[in-house]
Subunit: 90 residues, 2 copies
DNA sequence: ACAATATTTAGACATGCGTCTAATTATCGG
DNA sequence: CCGATAATTAGACGCATGTCTAAATATTGT
């Protein structure tokens, strides 16, 4: 579970997708436009992010709209701070 | 740079190593004892962690002592909070 | 200098992962 | 129902990565 999370964060394209979704919710197509790779590849990345719980998807007519799940990020932050950040600004 | 960081965090063995080092500094041998994999494999992981700046190594006689670099963790936390944590407990 | 201990490096191997194209599913409008 | 658009799924391919064994390097003690 935490494993899927960190593995999902390991890819730069996926992190960029997350940043885009942090600005605002977007459809799969809108996201894909931002990358030079094939549509299907972006779709694959979205699946990985969804599997890790980092994003949620909802169909909206012809489109599928993705949104960030910021709760999971807070979990990651808590994990990192509690284990490693070692007290200074944590 | 951030890439190496997140890639380093993606492996569960490496995260476990970091947790061990969060408790206290340890030599490569002490770390390796905690894992069922070959000594050389642990050494490889230590190299990855070092490459990502997450740990530092210092020779100490026959041994090499590893310690956590908590500054880098704070950077990760800051990145995650600023971009994604979206305000609640962040 | 030599043997023993600690650790890394080299090379090989299997599996995982990101990417692609092609095919499939789903929804909307006429 | 059909054609067009949006998105995912399937299958293939190459490269990255985690693991192993064996060899190399470094340090200590005799």
């Amino acid at each position: 579970m935490r494993d899927a999370l960190f593995r999902a964060l390991a890819d730069p394209t996926r992190r960029r997708i997350l940043e885009l979704l942090a600005e605002r919710d977007r459809t799969a197509g809108e996201i894909a436009e931002h990358f030079p790779i094939a549509f299907a590849s972006v779709s694959h990345h979205l699946g990985v992010l969804k599997g890790a719980g980092l994003v949620a998807a909802e169909r909206e007519g012809q489109h599928i709209r993705y949104r960030l799940n910021s709760t999971v990020f807070q979990d990651v932050v808590r994990y990192l701070m509690s284990k490693f950040a070692g007290g200074s600004d944590a």
